[in-house]
Amino acid sequence: MAMRSVLESLNQGLLRAFTAIPSVYLLGEDVLDPYGGAFKVTRGLSSAFPQRVLTTPISEAGITGLAAGMALRGLRPVVEVMFGDFITLIADQVLNHLAKFRWMYNEQVTVPVVIRTPMGGRRGYGPTHSQTLEKHFIGMPGLHVIAPAAIGDPGDLLYQAIHKTRDPLLFIENKLLYLLPLQSEEQADFTIETLPGADKPAWNGLPESTFPTPCYRLRVRGAPPATVTLAAYGYMAHIAQQAMLELALEHELFCELIVPTRLAPVAAGEIRASVARTQRLLVLEEGTRALGWGAEVLAQVAEAPGAGLRAAARLAALDLPVPASGALEALVLPGAPEVIAAALKLAEKQTLSI
């Protein structure tokens, strides 16, 4: 069997959802075959389910609101926002409508809407088509945020989300993930463990999600115990893996990488557990730093009693728009060299403090 890509996996997850669940509908721009969506994740759907795949006008807020209404009336709509840069246009629908309805209406309704969108740069698309904006949506009460990496079964994660969520859910797909092959537990260079998910997100009042959102731990195969914890999600996990190999081979610095798929409610338990062993934490993210996912992870680790944290840092995009020129984009977005440098710096602290 050929190795599946993340794109194929997601596409199959959608097809599976449409096949298994008659109440699933898709709303998105340019999603009809033969085009099948700007990034082809929806390819084949409109041919197989012409009645339930709705290609829409360029109306991100409108179709998100439509999906809310459909969900309130018993359907399970999936919305595709063509570029994640445009989730700003759905912010009001998500925050003041979708994510509020269930609690504000005293649990008398549910709003099972999955909003999928591709994020990320490194393709030279420029300042309005390259951003990583989920940080602005993580931390809205009532909204789940999930992001697959090229590990496990992203399509199944999407399927589960569509099938089981009772709340609006933002599903973040990094553009560069799409063509990566899926890694499995027999990965040559790494051991990949699926953590028990002991880390049920504590969400006041709102019952937790009803499907598993796996968290992975990766180690370079055969490496000694790690002295640095890396935490990353999505495509940054892939970059982290590249860096880990080089850190191990060239610098004899051994890391373990924690890759959650759940971003909201933020669940840092598995990261904390790793840090309890390594005492050093480097959080990676492709978005800008301030009030990012990394800030929350670091804050949760710092708050925890007896965290035993000896050094911590974040690596994120520079606090700038994403430039179009590849020459500048590479400077603004964090890559493997920056991860390596940051990890070495963190490890130096170790040397110094001994």
Binding site: P57, S59, I63, G65, A68, L72, L75, N96, H97, W103
Partner: protein, 309 residues
């Protein structure tokens, strides 16, 4: 005028029924404004005084399963839909027995197929989605969404009009044009013409300038008939008048101006003219008792506790 969609009544008790519905909203809202200064209610409120005939005329046409999405000025719509006065008072008072257990408050109601939200415009696409969902499910239910003239400023409304029209959503847009938004007169907020806004998206718009519940009901029947028979979304533009302040005590119009409006456009005397004085007195007495009891009961209801979180 075909009333095929309404419960069978004789013309006489039909008129009584409508008067009761109008007067019920009136008394509820008067009580709200009267009691607000005593501190029993939380937050703020937007009363429906003067616009009662719109809700009563339109919502009388609803059939089992039909859906209503309302806005910040939702008490009248809720009561005309059949909502319980005590539950609404309790919601305004933040009690556990409120429509949403006190979580929503005045602008955020949900009961049966009735919904409201306090963000201008955003409810329009949600209502379109509801209408489409019922269509996709093969249900005969239609959706009614209430909007104010000021809300024509919000862009998402036009996305909703386009989508509703493109996909023939079984939906009636009811635009209540009271010619004011908070304190802003229509002229300072609206260019062009309201009806043309709907028509530009292929949505027929019927316009009415009356406080008489009868023609409003007739027009709503007609339009909902079209919606039910698959003609796609329709708009009903109701020119109307707000008698009270926007919320509480924030009216910038002169008392004289408001007195004039009340003299010319009060839906209650118009409907009362169709009843005997005995009936009027009886209905008023019954409703006064209902509203007063509802208020007192709500006032005695418990506040929600931490478990409600």
């Amino acid at each position: 005028m075909i009333r095929r969609n309404c419960s069978p009544m004789t013309e006489a008790n039909h008129s009584q029924h409508r008067y009761r519905a109008l007067y019920r909203i009136r008394r509820f809202e008067e009580t709200v404004l009267e009691k607000f200064p005593t501190g029993v209610f939380f937050g703020t409120t937007h009363t429906y005084l003067g616009q009662e005939a719109n809700a009563v005329g339109v919502l009388e046409c609803l059939q089992q399963g039909d859906i209503v999405f309302s806005n910040h000025r939702c008490h009248g719509h809720f009561l005309a839909y059949g909502g319980d006065a005590r539950a609404l008072f309790a919601e305004l008072m933040g009690r556990a027995t409120g429509v949403c257990a006190g979580k929503g408050g005045s602008q955020h109601l949900q009961w049966k197929n009735f919904y409201s939200n306090g963000v201008q415009g955003g409810i329009a696409p949600v209502a379109v989605g509801m209408a489409l969902a019922e269509k996709f499910k093969g249900s005969p239910a239609v959706t009614v969404v209430f909007l104010g003239d000021g809300t024509l400023g919000e862009g998402v409304l036009y996305e909703a009009l386009n989508l509703a029209s493109l996909w023939r959503a079984p939906l009636l847009f009811v635009l209540e044009n009271n010619r004011i938004a908070q304190t802003t007169p229509l002229e300072l907020a609206l260019a062009g013409a309201i009806a043309a806004r709907f028509q530009a998206f292929g949505i027929p718009c019927t316009e009415l300038d009356t406080s008489d519940v009868e023609p409003i009901n007739a027009a709503a029947q007609e339009l909902l008939g079209r919606v039910r028979s698959g003609d796609g979304p329709q708009a009903l533009l109701l020119h109307t008048q707000r008698f009270g302040p926007h919320s509480k005590g924030d009216d910038t119009r002169t008392p004289q101006e408001i007195e004039n409006l009340k003299r010319q456009r009060d839906p209650l005397p118009i409907q009362a003219a169709r009843l005997t004085p005995e009936w009027i007195a009886q209905i008023q007495a019954e409703v006064d008792a209902e509203i007063s009891a509802a208020f007192q009961q709500a006032l005695a209801d418990p506040f929600p506790t931490a478990e409600a979180l």
